[in-house]
């Protein structure tokens, strides 16, 4: 058997117990890896006591790699984390790149299951077979970049290999509800507040160093596929675009189709747009490229501002989502300030989508007189005020003044601000929508509404399929021509995307960017060549479907119901001009079809017989016992 490291670490921070359990291959075949492993193990841990606070010791945190993590191929360096979200109170998860996942597998582990909470700041030290819970008081309070460098420096004498650090920043310690966890300064588990889960557990960091290697079941077959893919990657427009401009390459394509939210989702065009487009990014702040383990796509950016109010040292640069949330969403045309806001979010450890969107929401509250300078600690929080936007980001990280209110996320802040603040929300299930407008591609609307973690564009490839960057002709629903501004057939499309996506980016764990150019056959072949399994496309769709229901069921267990499967008013308000003029998703139609096809009852819970048919009887008992 190849791909897997073969062991899972179980660490209880309350008792200090550390246990290594072998990976069961039947389990591996059934749940593939990543979020498949994570969701199943999580359910097993909480099934006897599903009612608990996300910031309590009762909330397990699970980090899982996939069978491809650590294999020397493009776009497979990724891994996953999951837990109950402090931001939404529902299922929370992230898919992350970087180097940590590969290093963990080289140390001999497919994943780490963390339970309990420490009584003092702690970090986990992993050096191959040596696993220890160590005192982290000297790192507590330090920002992500500092901790990363210090931990590496503190352990450099023990081996020639420097190892990898995964850490939270002050935002996680301060329990900012959208705090992130960051590897190597710029590879971020951003969404749903996993950093706050660590903060509550007083877990500052994990250091891992591994000197082992991974086996590949069929090396010759993998080599042959590698050659085939080398030709595919060479000169491919998506890959070349990512290489040249990073994810921000989407700015110039997205603006044509009406995909990019502007002024807190009130516009899809803006006269200053080019000031923060990919060309401006390159001219104003870009210093170089970065990449993830063994990936030749190198879509990550490095940036720097040498002087002025937004000065920051060379480090990871903003991704597309960050340019949009801190730029277009806030009508902020200062590229330098976007770089600075990104630097603050990385150093404090915060999700840039929620942070930028929450600031855009607060600006609209300010502009409409719901809050004023007294509330905002003297900041003139108006559209395009770059200094105020950057200052507010820092206040959130520190949980200081008005930043403390915004640290709850926009939905939490709206409750405290009151009035008609909720009219300005762009959240589903409490999670701020990513920077892709469902008015221009109706299928995104359904995806945002029904994804277990809330408004999400990465849990399934719907964004890539409907957006046009991915084409899977082997799966009939995903090979047809797709009309963005139509709601017809989008339930069926979403379901196929969810089922395949759970295999693809959820469990295997392929990158949603660099691996989008693969077709389904190439993706399944890669997993088979590495693991030695003999999956078919049909089988991975079936396995993906079961894991999707498992995640949906977990959110249902935490209280998600049909009334939460709704888009906010703002995303259903037609745009008056531009490419998506007058277009809004028909949510009633799509939800009705989706509920029927997925076999949900009127409450938005999968019916017993559907769960039992999928072999999820345990989940079924829990959901219907609850009721």
């Amino acid at each position: 058997m190849g791909g897997y490291a073969g062991k899972i670490l179980y660490i209880d921070l309350t008792s200090g117990a550390i246990e290594t359990r072998p990976l069961d291959l039947e389990f591996a075949r059934k749940y593939i890896g990543g979020l498949g492993f994570g969701a199943k193990i999580y359910l097993d841990l909480i099934k006897d006591r599903p009612g608990f606070d996300s910031l309590s010791a009762d909330n397990p945190f699970i980090l899982m790699t996939g069978p491809l993590t650590g294999i020397r191929m493009n776009a497979v360096a990724r891994w996953t984390v999951c837990s109950k979200s402090p931001l939404t109170g529902l299922w929370g998860e992230c898919n992350i790149g970087g180097f940590f996942g590969a290093e963990l597998k080289f140390a001999g582990y497919d994943g780490i299951v963390i339970t309990g909470e420490a009584d003092k700041p702690t970090y986990i030290y992993i050096d191959n077979n040596t696993v220890e819970i160590r005192d982290a008081q000297k790192y507590w309070g330090a920002d992500v970049y500092t901790v990363n460098d210090e931990i590496i420096a503190d352990h450099k004498d023990t081996s020639r290999k420097s190892g990898q650090v995964l850490t939270i920043g002050p935002a996680g310690e301060n329990l900012v509800r959208f705090a992130s966890i960051i590897n190597n300064k710029g590879h971020v588990a951003g969404r749903t507040g996993m950093g706050a889960v660590w903060g509550a557990k007083k877990l500052k960091a994990i250091f891992v160093r591994g000197t082992g290697s991974l086996k590949v079941a069929y090396p010759k077959r993998l080599d042959s596929l590698r050659k085939e893919l080398k030709e595919l990657y060479a000169g491919h427009i998506t890959i070349e675009g990512l290489r040249a401009f990073g994810t921000a390459s989407h700015m110039d394509i997205g603006i044509i189709s009406g995909d990019i939210p502007i002024k807190n989702w009130q516009q899809t065009d803006w006269e200053l747009f080019d000031e923060i487009g990919p060309i401006a990014y390159g001219e104003k702040i870009l210093t170089g490229n970065r990449t993830c383990y063994a990936c030749g796509v190198a879509c990550k950016r490095e940036a720097e501002v040498k002087e002025g109010p937004f000065k920051f040292d060379k480090g990871p640069g903003p991704e597309y989502e960050t340019v949009a949330t801190f730029g277009t969403m806030c009508l902020n045309s200062s590229m330098e300030s976007i770089g600075k806001a990104n630097d603050i979010c990385n150093r404090y450890g915060m999700d840039t989508i929620t942070c930028g969107s929450t600031i855009a929401f607060a600006i609209e509250c300010f502009e409409n007189g719901l809050i004023n300078e007294e509330d905002t600690d003297g900041l003139n929080l108006t559209w395009g005020n770059s200094e105020a936007i950057v200052a507010m980001a820092e206040k959130i990280g520190k949980k200081q003044g008005f930043g403390s209110i915004l640290s709850e996320g926009s939905a939490g802040a709206a409750k405290q601000i009151g009035g008609n603040a909720s009219d300005f929300l762009t959240t589903v299930k409490g999670l701020e929508a990513p920077m892709h407008d469902p008015r221009a591609a109706h299928g995104y609307g359904l995806a945002y509404a029904v994804t277990p973690r809330g408004a999400c564009h990465t849990a399934s490839p719907i964004y890539a399929i409907e957006g046009g960057g991915m084409y899977l002709p082997e799966i009939p629903e995903l090979g047809d021509e797709i009309i963005g501004m139509s709601s017809e057939g989008k339930a069926k499309l979403n379901i196929a995307c969810q089922d395949f996506g759970m295999f693809f980016s959820g469990c295997a764990v392929f990158c949603n960017l660099g691996a989008n150019i693969l077709n389904a056959t190439q993706a399944v072949d890669m997993v088979n060549h590495v693991t030695g399994f003999d999956y078919t496309i049909k089988e991975v769709m079936h396995l993906g479907r079961r894991i999707w229901y498992l995640k949906r069921g977990l959110s249902n267990l935490f209280g998600a119901r049909a009334e939460h499967d709704r888009l906010p008013k703002r995303l259903l308000t037609p745009i008056q001009t531009g490419p998506s003029q007058g277009s809004v998703p028909d949510m009633d139609l799509m939800l009705k079809e989706f509920y029927e096809l997925r076999g949900f009852n009127d409450d938005g819970v999968p019916k017993k017989e559907i769960l039992e048919d999928l072999g999820l009887s345990e989940l079924s008992k829990l959901l219907y016992r609850e009721r």
């Binding site: 000169g235 110039d252 394509i253 487009g277 957006g467 150019i517």
Partner: protein, 137 residues
């Protein structure tokens, strides 16, 4: 049979549109900054147009098969027509090879902000020049 009845008609309409665009300073200046020579090869009906941004002025040369182009774009005439109406998902068209772009991709992508204003110009150009029957706006 596509939208356009003959190569001559399509060349007249699209060539005319490209000349119209190249006479619009806000677009032309951005095109000239790229210094690219782009050959558009259309099928059904078959037409070749070279857009030359290498000089002081944008040159539009229908039928030019001799000039060496740095960028070659191929697509059907119908896709091109819908594209200028903003009715083609560019990424999907490229992914599904309804459009094929050959050349330095970063330079091609840099053209996108330049051509964006042209979307609103195309329907008006058709209307103003008596090509109403082709208008799908």
């Amino acid at each position: 049979m596509g939208i356009f009845e003959s190569s001559q008609k399509f060349e007249e309409i699209l060539g005319g549109f490209f000349r119209h665009v190249s006479d619009t300073p806000s677009v032309a200046n951005k095109l000239l900054a790229s210094k690219l020579i782009i050959r558009f090869t259309y099928t059904d009906p078959d037409v070749v147009i070279v857009v030359d941004c290498s000089g002081d002025k944008v040159g539009v040369r229908p039928g030019d098969t001799d000039t060496k182009a740095e960028v070659n774009m191929s697509m059907s005439a119908d896709i091109a027509h819908k594209f200028w109406f903003g009715k083609v998902n560019l990424l999907a068209a490229l992914t599904r090879r309804q459009m094929v772009a050959k050349g330095p991709i970063p330079k091609i992508l840099k053209l996108l902000p330049a051509i964006k204003p042209a979307y609103t110009m195309y329907p008006k150009y058709l209307e103003d020049n008596g090509y109403n029957k082709y208008n799908i706006y």
